[in-house]
């Protein structure tokens, strides 16, 4: 599953399509603490977060995440779209709560 597939499941608006948008997601992380995200060694990760800040994207680039889906319908600062474009990272927004998003993604990832 790619981040674009997940965005469909979460009825998310894809604001920026980045370089990794067609990569298969290998790990999902649902954290709001960037310090925790930086401790994880997984590649091709999808980050689900309620935190809407530029640093989320910068952190995502540092750890090689395929992209970020901001949940809880958080309004994004306009700078985030610019940063996502600069770093070529996929950015989407969903109204799902983080918990509901996790459950929905889990269900979608399960083999049919």
């Amino acid at each position: 599953m790619t981040i674009l597939d997940v965005s469909e499941v979460l009825k998310a608006d894809v604001l920026v399509k980045g370089e990794g948008c067609h990569k298969a997601i290998r790990h999902v992380m649902a954290s709001d603490l960037m310090s925790d995200v930086l401790m994880v060694d997984e590649e091709d990760m999808l980050l689900l977060t309620s935190l809407a800040s530029d640093q989320v994207l910068r952190t995502a680039q540092i750890v090689g995440a395929v992209g970020v889906i901001v949940v809880n319908g958080k309004p994004l600062p306009s700078s985030m779209v610019n940063v996502a474009n600069d770093l070529r990272i996929t950015l989407a927004v969903s109204r799902f709560s983080k918990y509901d998003a996790c459950v929905a993604v889990h269900a979608a990832l399960k083999p049919a």
């Binding site: 603490l33 930086l38 935190l51 640093q55 540092i62 090689g64």
Partner: protein, 322 residues
């Protein structure tokens, strides 16, 4: 938004400092990499406070030196220069103890200062030499222009030999064994708009160089954590990085406020961040722990009230075969 960084140059906020176009990259890298202690003369001829100026003059003549530090058991008191001797000869005070006539208002350098800093002092003060103290304020050497020239000549010759050997072994391989990529980024306090930008740039450069992804990740994480640390926990500072001889070094240097207990700061989950900083996603206190985790070598020096320097070294190994 915030105060200017404490680096001396005025620069648009957040823009990475460009590599000086006028100086060859190798030379620039050398004067950044070399410390004062690598270049100074450490086998010193010194005199105690009781020595007469005549004895100092004798020492200068024998050793062919132009400045003699006055020192007892490593404790530094002052400097006697040739000018002081000449003045004493004219005034007839040549037999008096040097403590009466030595220069005590001195500019001193620290042994772990980069040579680039030291050069600015030579430029600014026009003294022929500077005493060098270590962190415990003990006299460990003296540095003059001749020392710098000699050291640069030696280092440049060595680098030239290294470059020639490595390029002859594998034609076309631009790897970690050449000296290149030396950059400094000024980081401003609480400049959240730009926080992390430097680390992002570093990662982009690394990806172009085709190093192993796991190594790139570690360097990027170390740089990012150190950058955020500078932004959130210091009054601003400089993040610098360089790659040479199979090693990536990332150094974060700030001028305050210093860490009172370095061991405490390096523990899991400790933080001095306030609520506002936490709400932006920072300050959970894992930063230095994480830097240590990804580093092959980790060094932190800090004094409460003065600056902190954190250094992370990551071995790069062989670049990926193209």
């Amino acid at each position: 938004m915030s105060d200017a960084p404490h680096t001396s140059d005025a620069r648009p906020k957040g823009e990475p400092e460009p590599v000086a176009e006028s100086e060859p990259l190798v030379l620039l890298e050398l004067i950044q990499r070399l410390k004062v202690r690598d270049v100074m003369t450490s086998k010193l001829a010194t005199v105690p406070r009781s020595a007469t100026l005549r004895e100092v003059q004798e020492l200068m003549r024998k050793k062919k030196i132009s400045g003699v530090p006055v020192e007892e058991n490593g404790r530094f008191f002052g400097l006697v220069s040739i000018d002081d001797i000449i003045r004493a000869l004219v005034a007839g005070t040549i037999d008096e103890p040097c403590s009466k006539h030595m220069t005590t208002k001195l500019v001193v350098l620290e042994d772990d200062m980069p040579l680039s800093f030291a050069l600015r002092y030579f430029d600014r003060y026009h003294y022929g030499r500077f005493p060098v103290l270590n962190r415990d304020r003990r006299l460990v050497g003296i540095i003059c222009q001749r020392d710098i020239n000699r050291a640069l000549l030696v280092e440049l010759t060595q680098e030239l030999n290294r470059l020639e050997t490595s390029s002859s072994q594998t034609p076309g391989l631009d790897g970690a064994y050449s000296i290149y990529v030396l950059r400094e980024f000024p980081i401003c306090k609480y400049d959240f708009e730009n926080a992390g930008k430097a680390a992002n740039q570093i990662k982009q450069v690394l990806q172009e160089k085709k190093f192993q992804p796991k190594v790139i990740r570690r360097i990027a994480v170390a740089a990012y954590e150190l950058e955020i640390n500078l932004c959130v926990h210091s009054d601003g500072g400089v993040l610098s990085w360089q790659i040479s001889n199979g090693r990536a070094e990332i150094i974060a240097r700030d001028a305050g406020p210093g860490i009172e207990d370095v061991a405490w700061a390096c523990r899991d989950g400790t933080s001095t961040a306030n609520e506002w900083i936490r709400s932006l996603g920072f300050g959970a206190g894992m930063g230095l722990v994480n830097v240590k985790r990804v580093s092959d070598e980790f060094e932190i020096t800090s004094k409460k009230g003065s600056g902190t320097t954190v250094k992370s070294v990551i071995n790069i190994g062989e670049p990926m075969a193209t």
